[in-house]
């Protein structure tokens, strides 16, 4: 969630190259070399161990399971589950068969959900950050209040929204139907077509403050001289926003969009808390779809195969995204 990824200087050989306090004697120099060479790895070791234990090894384990026929008949003796070859993958990608079709549907729902949520979060975040750029009375308070959704624990926020979306007694219908008379009857938000939109609204509510925060940080770095020069040239506020602010925010945007995309695409909490383990068809996000396959249908092989496909998709998207957006940047930017 760093605000920008600027061209980083490639670090030189080592921190204290040639400035060894030990002078010219040979032995200490070798020791020094070893320490110099080993130190980076030593410093990285805890992080590497943690990543290995929690992410890397379980992931390979998960990939292994995806080639197994690990159903409820085998979970008690999971290491004796028969090999399934590519069967789990085949079932997942056969889009004209029910399982593949359901997965594809879920994938599209997730993609639409993610694109909408990220776009709206970015839009709101940008609007708020720009409108709060200049000093005015109440600015600090508003800025603080805007951060509240990010600071609320996910469960508390989600359950409150669910409460508000109830058809008969919820606030949303109270406002839309009883007070504004916009709808002829109370609409459903937690089932049917609207459930997708309910989920998008909640997701935007949760995510946009993050975009706002990062963009606010990005705005701090735009040199004031740029604005002054533009003002001198007679550019109005709107023009300044278009000509200076937006282009300067590009590196920040690159990061925000990617981060929000990954978070939202893997979002599990939102549908799970709002709809339970069986969300409506229209809100069948991929993470919960896989959860069902694994933990409710007890077919971990199939669930793992779907996860691996999802992971591959995200890797490709991220790689392409970084390639496209980082053209001309230092290759050290990750």
């Amino acid at each position: 969630m760093t605000a920008t990824a600027p061209p980083r200087r490639t670090p030189e050989a080592g921190p204290s190259s040639g400035k060894s306090a030990a002078g010219g004697r040979l032995r200490p120099r070798i020791v020094e070399r070893l320490r110099q060479g080993g130190l980076p790895y030593l410093l990285l070791l805890p992080a590497i161990l943690a990543e290995l234990l929690i992410h890397i090894v379980p992931m390979f384990f998960g990939i292994l399971i995806s080639f197994k026929n690990l159903t409820l008949f085998y979970i008690h003796h999971w290491n004796s589950a028969p090999w399934a070859g590519f069967d789990n993958y085949k079932a997942a990608v056969k889009i004209h068969q029910p399982i593949g079709e359901a997965l594809l549907h879920s994938f599209w729902v997730t993609l639409c959900y993610t694109l909408l949520s990220v776009a709206l979060s970015w839009l709101l975040g940008t609007a708020a950050a720009i409108l709060l750029q200049d000093k005015f009375r109440g600015r600090g308070l508003i800025r603080t209040l805007f951060l509240v959704p990010y600071a609320l624990p996910a469960y508390a926020a989600l359950i409150t929204w669910t409460f508000m979306f109830q058809q008969d007694t919820g606030l949303v219908n109270h406002v839309l139907h009883d007070q504004l008379h916009l709808t002829s009857s109370k609409s459903f938000w937690l089932i049917g077509d609207n459930s997708f939109w309910a989920m998008v609204i909640v997701s935007v509510w949760k995510s946009w403050p993050f975009a706002f925060l990062a963009l606010m940080a990005g705005l701090q770095n735009i040199p004031r001289e740029l604005y002054e020069a533009a003002a001198m040239d007679g550019a109005g506020v709107w023009q300044q926003i278009r000509k200076i602010t937006m282009p300067s925010l590009r590196p920040v945007n690159q990061v925000i969009v990617l981060v929000l995309f990954l978070w939202t695409f893997n979002d599990f909490n939102t549908p799970f808390v709002m709809f339970g383990q069986n969300p409506p068809h229209q809100a069948d996000l991929i993470s919960i779809h896989i959860y069902q396959s694994s933990f409710i249908n007890w077919n971990f092989g199939s669930g793992s195969a779907m996860s691996v496909l999802l992971l591959l998709f995200l890797l490709v998207v991220t790689a392409v995204y970084l390639l496209v957006t980082s053209r001309g940047r230092s290759e050290n930017d990750v």
Partner: protein, 453 residues
């Protein structure tokens, strides 16, 4: 000045190790490595050898809260410890987590010694091989199989196999009706057939009140009702080999009849389509709906302030008056079973505990507290279970209840067909037509996703 660098590195390392050590100390608890007792061979264990053993028990949420359950059960567990010397470590687990916890335990072999399971999970969990099968020898240790109601035993595992669990609490569905609302609408008797229910429901649906409330978005509830409605037509959801038969005309008709409460007949509020958190009981207890089909609901109704004399309970309607056999089935066999985890190191102590929990006295106490019906027939004669509503439900359980299909893929059935019915309700609530074709399409799609067994 090398020493400076070394010392600062040392300092950092020490701080890290110290911090890590602290957490280890703080978090190391929670393991329950106790004096592991003899894992005897199932023969009557010498009572003395069990003394001082500790077993772990996962209980399901039966009362008003996890905490209330904990208090209720702890009183009983203390009695058990006093008489046997076996200590029971109790954990009450909410329904949201219970199946996942059991699943994880089954996979890893690291779980409780004794656990509660929803009886509809019996066959699925049986298929995993994680639960101890209750053969005749095992049943002998708790007093024999024939102490239990046959319907309850039939809901403890697949037919032809040793049960995977022992019935603990039994429940049955009944039709709850609001006496005053019926009287006000001029209806003398509660409905006995579905036609009567629809006719009564239409009379009762006026001015913001509705004939009946249903839990439309609750997959499990949906399954229980369409099971009965199909059974009354002589149809089952699985054939003898355990293959799904979702798309037969009777099954379609059963689902349609249920969904039509909102769709064609409009005797239930549209809003019911999103009910998933027992709002049905609230609606019934607050007079918003005149009827509901529920299992042993007296405690929940009372918690909303409705008094026992304000409502009546009768069996759920049938298709034609006086039907018997399958056509006369009015409820699934609902309930909670108690299982022993196969990997337990304390088998004898676990059996002793199950024996205690299913003893006639304990059955009276526990079922009395939870408002359920004892599956142990001897305990049913207790005055606590002679209230008008429990008498009706006990009768249903004895005469007109059938176990849900006891097949390994039952949980997929719930997970696929339950939501299918939910989205049909959603269609109905949104004003879309629910036809035989749309029901059949939904069920076909569900069936196609069932794993081959």
């Amino acid at each position: 000045m090398r020493s400076s660098s070394t010392s600062s590195r040392l300092l950092a390392a020490t701080a890290l190790v110290a911090a890590l050590g602290l957490t280890l100390a703080a978090c190391g608890g929670g393991s329950d490595d106790d004096s592991s007792g003899s894992s005897g061979s199932g023969k009557t264990a010498d009572a003395n050898s069990l003394k001082g053993q500790t077993i772990t028990y996962w209980a399901s949420n039966q009362g008003t809260s996890l905490d209330a359950d904990k208090k209720t059960l702890t009183t009983e567990l203390d009695k058990f410890e006093a008489s046997t010397g076996i200590k029971v470590k109790l954990e009450v687990i909410g329904w949201a987590d219970l199946l996942n916890r059991i699943l994880a335990a089954a996979t890893s072999g690291q779980g409780p010694d004794v656990l509660n399971i929803g009886n509809t999970w019996s066959a699925s969990l049986q298929a995993t091989g994680a639960l101890m099968p209750w053969d005749d020898a095992a049943f002998q240790t708790i007093g024999g199989k024939d102490r239990f109601a046959p319907a309850a035993i039939a809901s403890a595992g697949a037919a032809g196999q040793d049960p995977a669990a022992v019935p603990l609490y039994s429940m049955a569905y009944g039709l709850y009706y609001n006496k005053k609302m019926f009287a006000d609408a001029g209806i003398a008797n509660p409905p006995a057939t579905w036609d009567e229910l629809v006719a009564d429901g239409k009379k009762l649906t006026t001015g913001g009140h509705y004939g009946i409330a249903v839990e439309g978005a609750n997959g499990a509830e949906n399954i229980h009702h369409i099971f009965v409605l199909a059974k009354q037509r002589g149809a089952s959801w699985f054939d003898d080999k355990g293959a799904p038969t979702f798309t037969g005309p009777q099954q379609v008709a059963a689902v349609k009849q249920y969904v039509d409460m909102i769709a064609a007949n409009k005797i239930a509020a549209k809003g019911n389509a999103e009910y998933v958190q027992n709002q049905t009981i609230t609606d019934f207890a607050t007079g918003k709906a005149a009827m509901m089909m529920w299992q042993t609901a007296s405690a929940s109704i009372a918690s909303h302030g409705m008094k026992p004399d304000q409502y009546g309970v009768v069996p759920v309607p049938v298709q034609t008056a006086g039907a018997t056999g399958d056509a006369g089935v009015t409820s699934m066999v609902a309930g909670i079973n108690m299982a022993i985890f196969k990997d337990t190191k304390h088998k004898d102590a676990a059996e002793a505990f199950v024996k205690f929990m299913t003893s006639t006295d304990e059955q009276k106490v526990l079922n009395g507290k939870y408002g359920s019906i004892p599956p142990v027939t001897e305990a049913q004669s207790d005055p606590a279970f002679q209230t008008p509503d429990l008498k009706v439900l006990a009768e249903v359980l004895a005469k007109s209840a059938a176990p849900l299909p006891q097949v390994a893929n039952e949980s997929q059935f719930e997970n696929l067909v339950g939501p299918a019915v939910k989205s049909l309700f959603a269609d109905a609530a949104a004003g879309k037509a629910v036809t035989d074709d749309s029901v059949k399409a939904a069920l076909t799609k569900a069936q196609q996703q069932m794993p081959a067994s």
